[in-house]
Amino acid sequence: MWIYEKKLQYPVHIRKPNPKLAMAILSQIGGPDGELGASQRYLSQRYTMPDPAAIGMLTDIGSEELGHLEMVSAIVYQLTRNLSPEQIKAAGFEPYYVDHTTGIYPSSAAGVPFSAKYFQSKGDAVTDLYEDMGAEQKARTTYDNLIRLTDDPDVLDPLRFLREREIVHFQRFGETLSRLMDTLDPRNPYACNPSFDRQ
């Protein structure tokens, strides 16, 4: 069950429209390493985790990613407000505009719609946690790339916050994996799937 709170986790206040930058930032909504994929990955994986600490971590980080999805959507929304046809054409924003106007639609910067192919829920606690650590690094690199593309401080501020969260999530998943590995046979940790095999 989810509760929605009418506040952004971190403020987004962008004064200068920039539809070209918005197209790039769109990847953190619907791209391969974006916040939608992250939230669905963690919220899907949590059901078969054997360790309640892992269930908690995946539930809580998965929920936080929905809040990040909202923040990135707010960034794209504010970057594409009050656009004239001239601004749309000058920015090369026509391909997105013709199909979505300035609506928020989950696709990548290149226009590929979001897909569940971007994440896995393998039903093996060790495998899933390694996937999650990789996912956080991919998301961090994506924010690194976006941060290089602008010097607008209004945009950089929330991007830097979101990038930092990826680093913290990576740390937390690492600790969760470590706790899990401690419960497995150190001489043969892959002897069974802790999410599936009966102990």
Binding site: I3, Y4, E5, K6, K7, L8, Q9, Y10, P11, V12, H13, I14, R15, A53, G56, M57, D60, I61, E64, E70, S73, A74, Y77, Q78, R81, V168, H169, R172, E175, T176, R179
Partner: protein, 84 residues
């Protein structure tokens, strides 16, 4: 505090709780973290009560007996004016 100052204080206190929450998920017996969580939870609750009474709900289930449905009468958080 005015609305935006109070919202900012809420965002800060809530973020402290997000951090403590994630840490506690993998360190459930850490006394320092539990104390930290308790401190910021008390602060968040006080700030939230003040905000809701003066400016309207942050969650649809917060209600202070208003005579109109403030949930749809106050800005949603992606609006620039909600972040000023």
């Amino acid at each position: 505090m005015n609305r935006s100052g109070l919202l900012r204080a809420i965002q800060i206190a809530d973020f402290a709780l997000v951090e403590a929450n994630l840490f506690l998920d993998s360190h459930p017996n850490d006394e320092n973290a539990l104390r930290y969580y308790g401190t910021y939870k008390a602060r968040l609750d006080a700030l939230t009560e003040d905000y809701v009474n003066r400016f309207g709900p942050l969650c649809a289930r917060q209600y202070a007996g208003w005579n109109s449905w403030k949930w749809v009468e106050t800005p949603f958080p992606w609006a620039p004016e909600a972040n000023a």
